[in-house]
């Protein structure tokens, strides 16, 4: 002989549970996929940030005016006159960089 309250509880719990189907659940995410998805998410985020930085750089950095010549090196002193002694550099005198070539 079954208790009507027990039957009622059993039926209510069964009906409540049966009301939840796979369609109600979030997309499945098996445990072994979780770290990989995290890596993929991080990679995508990094890619988006890098793209945004490149775009910002392109927009903000002004184009060089091709009409203006870049400034050349400043006036340099002719150092040939300082090495005439052959002794070496003298204090207070500019040194010429050593350059190979003819």
């Amino acid at each position: 002989m079954t208790d009507p309250v027990e039957d009622r509880v059993r039926a209510a719990l069964g009906a409540r549970a049966a009301g939840i189907t796979l369609d109600d659940l979030r997309p499945s995410s098996p445990p072994t996929l979780r770290p990989a998805r995290r890596v993929l998410t991080l990679a995508i985020r990094a890619l988006v940030i890098a793209t945004a930085l490149v775009l910002v750089a392109i927009v903000l950095i002004p184009d060089r005016d091709p009409a203006v010549e870049p400034a050349g090196p400043g006036p340099s002193q002719d150092c040939t006159s300082f090495v005439t002694t052959g002794i070496g550099p003298t204090l207070g005198m500019p040194q010429c960089p050593y350059t190979e070539g003819p």
Partner: protein, 194 residues
Amino acid sequence: MILAIRPSWLQLLLRSVTSGAHASRGGSSREAPPAINELYHVRRLGLVRLAVLMVDDLPTAEDIVQDVFAALYRRHGADLRGVTDPHAYLTTAVMNACRSALRRRRTARAYLPPKPLPALAAEDEALRTEADPEVLAALTRLTVRQRQVVVLRYYAELSEEEIADALRVSRGTVKSTASRALTILRDALSEARP
């Protein structure tokens, strides 16, 4: 068009990233999925249903089940070596997690001013109506332990011994808890329909 000319190395890279830790252990993609993933697909819905009957809230129930599987994977790996009965393990773990969630919820309610419950969606309301709202309301009068016993006994159809194992209590405790719970439910239902 871009996808069509995607180089094969990029496909390989994407496959290696999305296939997860299992594939990186040297298994080919044609191997059977790891045991924990099979278990996840087989048991997920049932465990979510079980958790819903405990916490009465689908998002929380889904979180609980997901966390339980994540903990199982962290502790025992993908092949579940060392787990003698994964099904019993999952039932116990979900029940423990539900108990913790309900305790946290009750503690929060004790410290926060009562808020009106959010209106249920029409579908959820319909499901509850089919599921005998008087019984569901009566279930809220039970303690967490009583509710666990009732759910495992009348929904999961576990024996007293299995419930005792799942909840890590004695068989006598299960029997007395179930008896007390039924008395409370009987009183609540008789109040609802005098």
